[in-house]
Amino acid sequence: MSNHDSHEEHCEHKGPHVVSLGLLATVLIVLLGLTGLTVVTGKMDLHGFDLAVAMLIATVKASIVCLIFMHLYWDRKFNGMIFLFAVMLLGLFLAFGVLDLGQYQANVDAYRADQIQP
């Protein structure tokens, strides 16, 4: 099996890419470090940026897992595209959910207030 660490664009497929043990171990240490970081920042007052910082760290962790552990960096681009598509659909779902909420929550609240009055 081919075992080359510097890999060029995947035009032709030369057998599977084998990730070196050193890289896998480095990724584990980085992921554990980022987990520690998110626990520490989670306990600090970041003036409204708490959620943004937590999500940024989680996204970095998830990207590393996808690219290295899940081989997407060396894999066929189409597999990565499928996963990106899933993330985009999730974003679309979230965005429309939040938009809808912003639009109609006032009506729900008004309805509830009416129900309690009499």
């Binding site: 099996m1 599977p16 306990k43 989680a58 998830a62 897992v65 552990f69 066929r76 999730l90 959910g97």
Partner: protein, 253 residues
């Protein structure tokens, strides 16, 4: 190699409708990535519920999150990351034909998964005991009307009687009926998200066990390690979901 229709050429693992092992591997992998897409969408509905509810009631999330144990959540994160590492190493072992290391890594991954479920059990049983459940559950201290809450639960639940004094969190008995209803929704979302994730961990354990059996029966070779590769991809997705669940549920100030 040219494979004519329905003639069995090539290695034993190659099914007749594929030209080459590589084509078979790529098809399997593509299929698994499409499956992972549906998994992301499966979880996304719950993430939308989470987002909607948190944006409407941020204070409820900050309050209820105090009842989750950050240390246990962080421990579970570390355990899952370690298992992701061992399963990724396992794929390398399978590619290089390192059978003993592959068996070791699969067993460590399974042990990590079991540890994760063990910690989860500890958390769930503590919450059951405290009555920290969704509003409809019999043992819940978040019923909309406090007279419906079981006296037996009221008596021994610290959450009901004292709250979390060191964090300045009010006792549940001091909350209004509306506030209790709101907190009960947080716990409904918490149990749905972590429960669905837990089911995925259990499914992953079954999958990894089946793969381990294949390895023990010498069905996995550097020429054919597709089950290990795909099983590992699924396991990483379980890890990915938890990477987001941990800060979203446990780390709310």
């Amino acid at each position: 190699m040219t494979a004519t229709a329905h003639a069995h050429h090539g290695p034993a693992h190659l099914q007749h409708h594929f030209e080459t092992s590589e084509q078979q591997f790529d098809s399997a992998k593509l299929g698994l990535w499409v499956f992972l897409l549906t998994e992301v969408l499966f979880f996304s509905a719950l993430f939308v519920a989470y987002t909607s509810y948190r944006s409407l009631h941020p204070e409820v999330f900050a309050y209820a999150s105090n009842y989750l144990d950050t240390n246990l959540g962080a421990a579970n994160t570390a355990v899952l990351l370690l298992s992701s590492f061992t399963v990724a190493w396992g794929v390398r072992n399978a590619q290089l034909g390192q059978r003993k290391l592959l068996i070791m890594n699969l067993i460590i991954t399974l042990l990590c998964a079991a540890t994760f479920m063990g910690i989860k059990y500890k958390e769930y049983s503590h919450k059951y005991h405290e009555g920290l459940l969704w509003g409809g559950a019999e043992h819940s201290i978040f019923k909309h009307n406090q007279f419906m809450i079981l006296d037996a639960v009221k008596e021994h639940s610290h959450a009901w009687n004292e709250g979390v004094p060191e964090a300045g969190v009010a006792a549940v008995k001091d909350l209004s009926n509306d506030q209790r209803r709101d907190v009960s929704i947080f716990f409904a979302i918490y149990f749905c998200l972590t429960g669905l994730h837990g089911i995925h961990v259990l499914a992953g354990m079954v999958l990894l066990t089946l793969i381990l059996i294949k390895v023990l029966r010498r069905k996995i070779t550097p020429e054919y390690y597709t089950p290990v590769d795909l099983g590992a991809l699924y396991w990483h997705l379980v890890d990915l979901v938890w990477i987001f669940l941990f800060p979203l549920l446990y780390l709310i100030r």
